[in-house]
């Protein structure tokens, strides 16, 4: 992707053609409210990152988007309301979610994990996609018949992401993809995610502790504090913000 395309893409964001539009999103576990009505939006093809301290509601935000927690408010994907639909239906609209740390089926083989990722697809290119992700994530190809539970943490994270990509998602939700991974592997992972974003135009919403890396890869960023959006803007602007730097970047 050349620089002109890149700037054109970022500009379209500014015009405000939101692909994911979240308004007044509340979420609760039982009686405990975690999100107190947050608003945010992500334009088509963008990478957005959610930063925030532990307990700020980052994971809950992702879980709320695919109905894994009870919610109130509006979640529009490409103009269509997702709120009120079941997880299985939201997946069928093209939302893939890589949950924190345990996104695989440990007893199933690597290949079966990828087949499960394509569960809702009815086209005949599933096989081709599997081969494609084997090429992208080379180590998965070497271990295709192994049980997913026998892979290392980094390999399992790659498998969880490849599993999510098998849906051919239009929106990919990633919950701390770098958790427990070595810095080198994390960097490779983010490069691969950026490549997927560039090649397929997949919109991504990433929750990430590694703020430097995440802000580097993202177009827009949101900072959550105690269940509310405290700060938002282009990723590059937030990376220069003094408060963000002190709280999340550590310099």
């Amino acid at each position: 992707m050349n620089a002109v395309d890149e700037s054109a893409r970022r500009e379209s964001t500014a015009v405000g053609t939101a692909y994911l539009e979240v308004r007044g999103l509340k979420a609760a576990y039982g009686d405990i409210n975690v999100l107190h009505g947050i608003d945010f939006s992500v334009a088509e093809g963008q990478i957005a990152v959610i930063l925030g301290a532990n307990g700020a509601g980052k994971t809950t935000t992702l879980r709320a988007l695919c109905a894994m927690v009870s919610t109130e408010g509006s979640i529009k994907l490409d103009g269509e309301e997702l709120a009120g639909h079941s997880t299985a239906d939201i997946v069928r609209r093209g939302v893939a979610h890589v949950p924190q740390g345990r996104g695989t089926f440990p007893e199933l083989s690597v290949e079966e994990n990828l087949l499960a990722g394509a569960f809702v697809r009815a086209d005949n290119e599933v096989r081709a996609d599997i081969e494609r992700w084997y090429e992208t994530f080379g180590v998965l190809g070497e271990r295709r018949t192994q049980a997913a539970g026998s892979l290392s943490g980094g390999e399992q994270q790659m498998l969880a992401i490849a599993r999510a990509l098998m849906l051919r998602p239009s929106l990919l939700l990633l919950d701390e993809p770098s958790l427990g991974l070595a810095p080198m592997i994390t960097r490779t992972l983010f490069e691969q995610l950026s490549a997927v974003n560039a090649a397929a135009g997949t919109t991504m919403l990433v929750v990430e502790q590694n703020a430097i890396l995440a802000l580097g890869a993202a177009d827009v960023a949101y900072v959550l504090e105690a269940g509310a959006v405290a700060l938002s803007g282009p990723a590059s602007a937030l990376a220069d913000d003094d408060g963000v730097r002190r709280a999340y970047l550590g310099y």
Partner: protein, 313 residues
């Protein structure tokens, strides 16, 4: 020392019988036949355990209901026994789907204890309801297989029924294997049992998948009941005994292994028939099953073929 004398008396009998090759062989065949029936009910238990992580104590009762329906279809309505059994399998599958939808699904699937209590309640309700509807007098259900024995050595007979029982259980385990390993439904089923949350996140509808598991397990359990009942007599408590032997079989095999259920079933069937004969323990037949469960839990809780669940936390 009357105690010592009676103990020696037991061994007297034992030693007498030990040299009797025909008796060995006869009990071996009987053990295989019983074992096959335990194995098929154990397969039903394993199907539910694999998907949900708990033991469905009502499995035997669903099979009991199925066997009574087979009795109605065959003896009362005059259908051929095999056809009646297939109809009963379908009927008990429908009942199990209804039960799963109404009594099981409202509970969170990852908390086993409330569900175990529900299945224990179901066991009591179904067994009693069967008693109310059909009464407590014994009836006999004909076997699906012809009588007689193609192979005989004196008192040891390899009967058509033994061959049929074994053939049925191997066919069931083969078909289950194909279903789980080769079909999309099977993949969904295994995905749900492996990671409930991820299964939802790939778009699998968890409820209907588990409902399908219940239906399949009930059909298999009914088939197992239809194999075992012709050897005994049909009455409302019959499947409770079978359930205990099948539980022992499933525990020995490893609770989440289909092959384990078959091996465990045959082992329990053989153990029961050989021990009972050679130690003269007919009063304690049921206790051998409980002893198997106890030993497995003490020595090897994952059973022979079960997988230890490893969780990253």
């Amino acid at each position: 020392m009357p105690v010592l004398a009676s103990v020696l008396g037991v061994f007297d009998i034992t030693l007498d019988k030990l040299g009797d090759g025909e008796l060995w062989l006869a009990q071996f065949f009987r053990g295989l036949s019983d074992g096959a029936t335990y194995a098929s009910v154990a397969l039903a238990l394993v199907m539910i355990y694999k998907s949900t992580g708990f033991i469905n104590f009502a499995q035997g009762s669903l099979a009991l209901l199925g066997v009574y329906l087979a009795y109605v279809f065959s003896v009362e309505q005059g259908l051929p026994v095999a056809v009646a059994v297939v109809c009963a399998m379908a009927a008990s599958a429908a009942v199990a789907m209804f039960v799963e939808r109404v009594l099981i699904r409202p509970f969170p699937p990852n908390h086993a204890l409330p569900l175990v209590i529900v299945t224990l309640g179901l066991l009591l309700i179904i067994d009693s309801a069967v008693g109310i509807v059909w009464g407590f007098r014994t009836r006999s259900l004909p076997s699906m297989f012809p009588s007689g024995a193609p192979i005989e050595w004196g008192i040891a007979q390899l009967t058509w029924r033994t061959i049929g029982n074994l053939g049925t259980v191997f066919a069931v385990v083969g078909l289950l294997y194909l279903l789980l390993a080769r079909t999309k439904t099977g993949l969904a089923f295994r995905a749900v049992s492996s990671n409930l949350e991820s299964a939802r996140l790939v778009g699998i509808r968890v409820g209907p998948t588990l409902g399908f598991g219940w239906a399949l397990a009930a059909a298999i359990g009914t088939l197992g009941g239809a194999l075992v009942v012709p050897d005994l007599l049909l009455e409302p408590s019959i499947m409770l005994r079978v359930l205990i032997f099948s539980l022992a079989a499933a525990a020995l095999g490893g609770l989440d292994s289909l092959v384990g259920a078959v091996v465990g079933g045959l082992a329990v069937g053989l153990a029961r028939n050989l021990l009972v004969t050679f130690l003269d323990l007919s009063e304690l037949a049921l206790a051998t099953a409980v002893a198997v469960i106890l030993v497995v839990l003490l020595v090897r809780p994952t059973g022979l073929f079960g997988s230890a669940r490893v969780e990253r936390v």
